[in-house]
């Protein structure tokens, strides 16, 4: 079975590729370039095409499949009534799947299940990363606020932090919110 993975995110494509490589008897092709996409697909003649929902080439690809259905290799989105649930899961995960007509559905199912799992794994990685980045940004804001207080009030670092915390507790807000207010006020007052 020849599977084409169309994804402009090379890192996500490689995670999907790694997952699908576990399956027996398959050949994988990763397409990350938008230009020349249809020519590559035609050359590869895949049995299954996986493409992420955020890919701007989806309409172009679907049109190609519609035309190819008339021409030679009938390719359809993996949709017959019994597949509804599987498709729903793939859409939730953010991937759409196109399959050449006549492929055994249990084989497609294993590809789809794996692809969905890998997409979900990638999404989790991304949100972990975003969370880590958010935490880092918060720490930077608090540090900045501490420096402002230290300079303007001549206090030590622990004292500056204690002041931020006291204010946060008395107004039942988070320390980072107070820190942000301090930084904004400082900027408004002409600080750098």
């Amino acid at each position: 079975m020849r599977i084409a993975i169309v994804d402009e995110s090379a890192s996500r494509a490689s995670i999907i590729e790694e997952g699908l490589a576990q399956l027996p008897d398959i050949e994988l092709f990763v397409l990350t370039e938008r230009r020349g996409l249809l020519a590559r697909i035609e050359e590869i003649a895949p049995d299954v095409v996986l493409i992420d929902l955020g890919n701007p080439s989806r309409d172009v690809l679907e049109e190609y499949f519609t035309v190819s259905r008339v021409v030679a290799r009938p390719i359809a989105m993996f949709v017959d009534e019994s597949d509804e649930e599987a498709i729903g899961a793939s859409i939730d995960a953010g991937v759409s799947v196109y399959v050449v007509d006549g492929l055994a559905s249990n084989r497609i199912r294993s590809v789809l299940d794996l692809a969905v799992r890998r997409f979900n794994a990638f999404a989790r990685l991304q949100s972990d990363l975003a969370e880590a980045k958010g935490k880092l940004a918060e720490r930077e804001t608090v540090d900045k606020a501490k420096r402002i207080l230290m300079q303007s009030k001549g206090v030590t670092e622990p004292e500056a932090y204690a002041e931020l915390r006291r204010k946060a507790m008395s107004s039942s807000r988070r320390i980072v919110d107070i820190a942000e207010a301090v930084v904004t006020a400082h900027e408004l007052m002409g600080g750098e």
């Binding site: 309409d59 679907e62 949709v79 859409i91």
Partner: protein, 404 residues
């Protein structure tokens, strides 16, 4: 209690009404909270609607009908109680093609341009290099408008030229690399091509059909029924947003809102051009005014005329080369839901037509028509070739198109 609706959209100027209904608080006033899901392909907007990621979608009108009829995927009935706007698209040629057949810097006369293009198309076909056009989707008004104009100009869209699908944000790239010689696309993507010097706007689709149905707000039919109060609240909010949108005093502010990264993410100047019907046709030129380039509000523009759905059905048959079916014709007509539109607005005093269907292209000059509410006046709605569409006899219309 506030109801919540998620709306899927593509970054195009005509996604404006739900966005502005949210941003200006009209939705909140009506008791409905909106959130938005931005995507970059119609396939994904549709998938999200069908699998419940969104409750409603900004959708190319023919795709709502094709989905209901099961073209390209199992049939799922969609329903549209609100037309998001009429026209707002343009045809842009590469500078080379424009220099040969059009008058760069002016919007062409569609008849004259069609004739010049027909000669060029034949010459190019004879040389084995057919002219290639890009449209955004097989089931788009862009495709149907372009094909209507080509066919009426004596150019067979599937034989004399080639028509391929190009995603709107890449139309300028496709013109630049010579992948296409022209394209029919919505704003701001024509203007983006002009700004880069790789395209020249030669026609507004409003010149092909003065009142052509464009995007719709689509729901899954069962969702429309289940969420009727929220749907009707949204309709009222979008009518208020429309009044705000067409008021010149708000143009700049609305262009700025729409330009934000979470909505269109593009140059507010280009968006302002579309909103104000002022388009720069050639790189560096002064903008040209073309009235009703976009038509989002007046004359009950959002009313889902059943005859519009029926016209789209005839074009779907025409270009998919499939035979007429009375059953499909009825299913297609049911996609447009004027009853829901009326029910939402009957208490508001807003304009409501008396009929739910009309002869399309039949109004040659300002005409008063019967209204259920308000004073209803329709201005010119003609097709450029003077043909009219009578929804009472689809087969005869199709036959007359075949005869040319």
């Amino acid at each position: 209690m506030t109801e919540h609706l998620t709306i899927g959209f593509l970054p195009l100027v005509d996604a404006c009404l739900p966005i502005l209904a949210h941003e200006h608080g009209f939705a909140e006033e009506e008791g409905v909270a909106l959130s938005f899901q931005r995507d970059v392909s119609w396939a994904t907007v549709l998938d999200r609607l069908l699998y419940g990621h969104s409750d409603a979608a900004h959708l190319i009108a023919p795709l709502a009908i094709a989905t209901t009829l099961g073209r390209g995927r199992p049939a799922q009935p969609l329903a549209t109680p609100f037309v998001l706007g009429l026209n707002g698209n343009a045809i842009t040629f590469s500078p080379e093609l424009a220099a040969k057949v059009a008058e760069p810097g002016k919007l062409s006369d569609p008849v004259r341009l069609g004739a010049a293009l027909a000669d060029e198309a034949r010459a190019r076909a004879a040389a084995g290099k057919r002219i290639r056009f890009g449209v955004v989707h097989r089931y788009s008004s862009h495709n149907y408008m372009l094909r209507y104009w080509l066919a009426a100009s004596g150019i067979r869209p599937d034989e004399d030229v080639e028509i391929v699908t190009v995603a709107p944000p890449f139309v300028a790239d496709a013109l630049e690399t010579g992948e296409v010689d022209g394209a029919c696309v919505g704003e701001p993507w024509n203007s983006a091509a002009v700004q880069r010097g790789v395209g020249v706007i030669v026609l507004a689709t409003a010149q092909i059909w003065r009142r052509g149905v464009e995007k719709v707000l689509a729901f899954r039919a069962p969702v429309l029924e289940a969420r009727r109060p929220a749907v009707e609240a949204l309709i009222r909010a979008m009518r208020k947003a429309g009044a705000h949108f067409v008021d010149q005093a708000n143009w700049e502010a609305n262009a700025e809102i729409l330009s934000r990264p979470e909505y269109l993410g593009s140059d507010p100047k280009l968006i302002l051009g579309a909103i104000s019907d002022r388009l720069v046709l050639v790189q560096g030129a002064e903008p040209v005014q073309y009235h009703d380039f976009m038509f989002q509000h007046r004359e009950a523009a959002n009313f889902p005329w059943v005859s519009q759905a029926q016209w789209l059905y005839t074009q779907l048959l025409r270009w998919d080369h499939t035979p007429y079916s009375a059953e499909d014709a009825a299913a297609a007509a049911r996609v447009f839901r004027p009853d829901v539109y009326r029910s939402a607005l009957i208490q508001t005093g807003d304009l409501l037509p008396g009929a739910s269907s009309k002869v399309e292209g039949g109004v040659g000059k300002l005409t008063a028509v019967t209204a259920q509410q308000g004073a209803m006046v329709l201005s010119k709605d003609t097709f450029f070739d003077g043909r009219t569409f009578d929804p009472d006899d689809l087969e005869r219309y199709l036959e007359s198109l075949r005869r040319g």
